[in-house]
């Protein structure tokens, strides 16, 4: 099956710093999503981005499908950005919505 690798596994920032999270995948995809899991376990949708670039406030994401990677940018980080960031992909072909998750990046933002 498709492999999804996220880097870095852990990231510690001071409030106000910028960061880039990376997601590499091993095959073509129909769907790619970025999620933020808050400390209560809730998965928050950040981006649906199988290709191209999107921005939402301090967050933006870019997926280069031909090179099989996606990047999530966080600017001017805040303590509320802390948590785990997951990249998840739906493999191309007949995956019918089945998402494969990366191992996540644990982000800690200190005040």
């Amino acid at each position: 099956g498709i492999q999804v690798e996220q880097s870095p596994p852990d990231l510690i920032l001071q409030e106000g710093a910028n960061s880039t999270l990376r997601c590499n995948f091993s095959d073509s995809v129909n769907n790619l999503q970025w999620f933020h899991q808050n400390p209560w376990g809730q998965l928050i949708n950040l981006f649906y981005i199988p290709s191209g670039t999107k921005q939402n406030g301090r967050l933006s994401a870019t997926t280069v499908a031909t090179e099989r990677y996606s990047l999530l940018y966080i600017s001017s980080s805040q303590t509320t950005d802390s948590g785990v960031y997951f990249c998840a992909v739906e493999a191309g072909g007949t995956s019918y919505g089945k998402l494969t998750f990366g191992q996540g990046t644990i982000l800690t933002v200190h005040p």
Partner: protein, 119 residues
């Protein structure tokens, strides 16, 4: 996006017992899925809940251990049977395929999860 609720939100159970988790969506959806997140780990797909037919299970998951029902387009249940401490996890349902507005058809949304502890 759809509003997705799960019951119970958390439970503590004894080994050998079973727990049924409910997932309710406020609109009809095409696809419903069940995922497991073991402590400190990522999410793993258990099965696709098919409306009106048997669920489709992923490798490593079997119907006898995780029976799933989906009687209609807004509701599904997952049962964790004959539980052991290794079943302690967060169980999440997700949905895909509801229309209207600017929602992207293939975007998947998750319920709040059920945190299960087995003693």
């Amino acid at each position: 996006s759809a509003v997705i609720s799960q019951k119970p939100s958390r439970d503590i159970c004894q080994r050998g017992t079973s727990l049924t988790i409910q997932c309710q969506v406020d609109s009809q959806v095409t696809m419903m899925f069940w995922y497991r997140q073991q402590p400190g780990q990522s999410l793993t797909l258990i099965a696709t809940a098919n409306q009106g037919s048997e669920a489709t299970y992923e490798s490593g998951f079997v119907i006898d251990k995780f029976p799933i029902s989906r009687p209609n387009l807004t509701f599904s249940t997952l049962t964790v049977s004959n539980m052991s401490p290794e079943d302690s996890s967060i169980y999440l349902c997700s949905v895909e395929g509801f229309g209207g507005g600017t929602t992207t058809y293939n975007e998947q949304f998750f319920g709040p999860g059920t945190r299960l502890t087995v003693l």
